[in-house]
Subunit: 244 residues, 2 copies
């Protein structure tokens, strides 16, 4: 079953309020890493998997992409994307990533920002991406870091009585699969995968690994959102860049 | 300063007693992963970095390698290697890995079993290995897993009052560098590196990443040494295979 949590009204309200507040954790962490990895967008044909409200698709179009296709399972998200991040070079599509039916070798660059941990069948996704990429094209995605998703309890940092963060508890590392998290609503489904799985699936599908990034907070982030400093202690995200 | 802990008498006694007891944790975990990765040894010229008592060098020679050079900083270890794991196709050399002066493109395969975490300058090591490998040659090494080495306290599992292991504490992940551990003696020096550092240094030095393995215990290991089951919860080692 494909999860469509973004169409849950409570989740959607919480998520859009967070986005609309104008400042989010990812803006100082995952997004800068993603934008640095895709710095050369001029004339490119791009597929944005799990485009959400279209912020990254819009960024690509505004920075020279010839054509961007933004895909998301959530109708509410695509609606917001059409409203807030419309651009003549972008086409938004409401569809599960898993069911994409597009001609092979269509894209120069396939990106996915924090959506891969919602996908149950990572191997199938990687095979689809490989099929859709032109020869020499790149696949750049970010996902929750295996250190973050491993523990089935998903209760976050271990703190002392004063609420100070003592350390991050890792457990269940090699038990890949379902994790249930609370984010606005109970039971947000994620999939934990080990680092070796994330990487080896790409390589055995034909990709060449180019870079792994474990994003660190930007200087601005440390000023605007001091708690982000804990990223130095435990990585929340991982970016993996590979080419066909 | 290069660490030569294996020549410390207390350490050497503890370590050799462990090895001589005939059964060690690594035999069911790291060694099977290493041996699987280097399954094709026939006719190969091999460099074994940090060969210790020569067990793996001997394994290579016994499994068809044409020539094996085993290098270790510890005179005591090389003495044991010469005594216990002598073979006509093996040459043992007592030298710091960092100071190897050998002709370029000398080896088909360079291996290193649990020595890289003792090396301060990983970039220099990778550059040396690249220089010494023939075109198409492979570099296969195991090292302590970044999840294991991150926390500066190095106090192991968090346990409850009954001694049950609750979880593994990750902290200080992005602070690469020195870690002081206790293993037979105080102050055994290790170097923590992030996953992205371990991988990106190889790629930016010219290597193609082929495989990452986070070893799981063998069936025999689970029977002979039941506590090894905790490896499912937190990986102790990582194997990285790349080619020139």
């Amino acid at each position: 079953m494909k999860q469509n949590i973004y169409d849950n009204p409570t989740f959607f309200k919480g998520y859009t309020e967070l986005r609309d507040s104008g400042i989010t954790y990812n803006d100082f962490l995952e997004q800068p890493a993603m934008k640095e990895a895709i710095s050369n967008l001029e004339g490119k044909t791009i597929l944005d998997l799990g485009c959400g409200m279209g912020g990254l698709s819009k960024y690509c179009a505004a920075n020279g992409a010839k054509k961007v296709m933004g895909v998301d399972i959530s109708g509410k998200m695509i609606e917001r994307a059409e409203k807030d991040n419309r651009h003549e070079n972008i086409q938004y599509l409401c569809q599960p990533i898993e069911e994409l039916q597009l001609p092979s070798e269509s894209f120069d660059l396939i990106i996915s920002s924090l959506a891969v941990h919602y996908i149950k069948d990572y191997s199938a996704l990687v095979a689809t991406v490989y099929h859709l990429l032109k020869k020499g094209g790149k696949f750049v995605f970010t996902t929750e870091h295996p250190i973050t998703t491993a523990n089935k309890e998903m209760n976050g940092w271990i703190t002392n009585e004063e609420g100070q963060r003592l350390h991050w508890p890792v457990d269940d590392y090699h038990e890949e699969g379902l994790r249930k998290d609370h984010w606005y609503v109970d039971g947000v489904i994620k999939y934990h995968r080990t680092i070796s799985s994330l990487i080896n699936t790409l390589i055995s599908s034909g990709f060449t690994l180019e870079k792994v990034v474990e994003p660190l907070p930007t200087t601005e982030g440390l000023k605007e959102m001091p708690r982000i400093i804990h990223e130095n202690r435990k990585p929340s995200f991982i970016l993996i860049q590979s080419s066909k």
